[in-house]
């Protein structure tokens, strides 16, 4: 590829290649301070023109890599940074075999991890980003990596993908130099990426023992209720992108996680309520 960048994010090394310099420049800015991989990269992401001539004329970015989804839609070059981010997600979701991948955010305190999972729009990214500014270590907002060998969670602290209303909320408290450009009109509305705090990046190689699983849901009256283990198991199989392909190893890892961690569903009308609920539940498992 004409332009390329390598990034170490938690235990995973990416090489991102691009036909255009701009998406990689934006990516390099956003990921300033991340370590460089010291070996061969695990996954390659390639941002290429849909067809050769579209590199110049109404350029449109197609995401390629070691693993390909045939119907991944090409994106406008203005959203090249987002394409790179989506490319990294895609390679992880399709190719990761060492960890059980949960579509979940996670934060850590005192060596123990809180896992936040739920449907898109439930607010897990925002909640994790806020906790990451309030004494927790942000381990990741998109994927939680459950180690198949020891049942611990590995950090995957990619830039947090803030959407729509969450952007302003975080802009009020976080220095401007930790944000990427504001991307308007993406398939998910406005998106702005937030780089985790430097201390979270410095600790990215440190695993944590899962201690609590929460299913947050934004926009409802405040409520917290315990969730039974069988339901937690079922929800987590749905939240995992590679549970089926891992076979028995995935089953063992997931049943181990569910048996070891209490879980609750929390509804919240606003961020302050969510933080207070998380703090109260965390104290109970302490």
């Amino acid at each position: 590829m004409k332009h390329s960048l390598s990034l170490q994010i938690g235990p995973v090394a990416f090489r991102i290649g691009s036909a255009w310099p701009k998406p990689l420049a934006a990516l390099a800015d956003l990921y300033a301070g991340y370590p460089e991989p010291d070996g061969i990269c695990d996954f390659t992401v390639r941002l290429e023109p849909e067809t050769a001539w579209r590199r110049w004329f109404r350029p449109s970015v197609a995401i390629h890599g070691d693993y390909v989804l045939p119907d991944a839609a090409p994106m406008s070059l203005a959203h090249g940074l987002l394409a790179a981010e989506m490319g990294m997600n895609l390679q992880m979701a399709l190719g990761q075999k060492r960890y059980l991948l949960l579509h979940a955010a996670s934060v850590e305190k005192d060596g123990r991890a809180l896992i936040l999972t739920g449907e898109s729009g439930a607010g897990k990214s925002t909640l994790a980003a806020m906790l990451g500014e309030r004494g927790w270590r942000l381990m990741g907002d998109e994927f939680a990596l459950l180690d198949l060998e020891d049942g611990r969670l590995r950090a995957f602290p990619r830039a947090v993908s803030l959407k729509n209303g969450a952007i302003k909320v975080m802009e009020r408290t976080v220095p401007a130099d930790r944000f990427g450009p504001l991307l308007e009109g993406t398939p998910k509305g406005a998106i702005r990426h937030l780089r985790p705090r430097a201390d979270a990046l410095a600790a990215m190689a440190e695993p944590a023992r899962p201690a609590l699983i929460l299913f947050p849901r934004f926009g409802e009256a405040a409520e917290a209720r315990a969730v039974g283990q069988a339901e937690v198991f079922m929800r987590l199989t749905q939240a995992s992108t590679n549970y089926v392909s891992l076979g028995g190893a995935g089953f063992d890892a997931l049943t181990g996680l569910v048996a070891a961690c209490p879980a609750a569903a929390i509804d919240y009308p606003d961020a302050a309520t969510a933080i207070a609920t998380v703090d109260a539940l965390w104290e109970q498992v302490g």
Binding site: A230, Y243, G247, G248, T255
Partner: protein, 92 residues
């Protein structure tokens, strides 16, 4: 179906973990995960002694558990149909 004899895969083919009164099963030959409620795990347990008809399965279960009510036979037959559809038991 009266008289049908059922068989289950050997114990090593199915990993079972109890979660809150339900059981999650990992069926190694198919790679599929199932979440089942009683008496399905107990039926599989009874079939580990060897192939059996529904009546024999019920008799084996009665030796181990206090089964309440008169509809236990119907429940066993209904669960056998479901376990067969899920690929966890088959007819000989």
């Amino acid at each position: 179906m009266a008289g049908a004899r059922y068989v289950a895969d050997p114990e090593e083919c199915v990993e079972t973990v109890a979660l809150d009164g339900l059981s999650v099963l990992f069926h190694r030959p198919s790679g599929m995960t199932h979440i089942v409620a009683p008496p399905a795990p107990q039926i599989l347990e009874a079939l580990r002694l060897g192939p059996a008809e529904a009546g024999e399965i019920l008799a084996r279960m009665r030796a181990w558990y206090d089964l309440e009510g008169d509809d236990a036979a119907d429940a066993v037959e209904a669960r056998l149909d479901e376990l067969e559809a899920a690929g966890l038991v088959s007819r000989l």
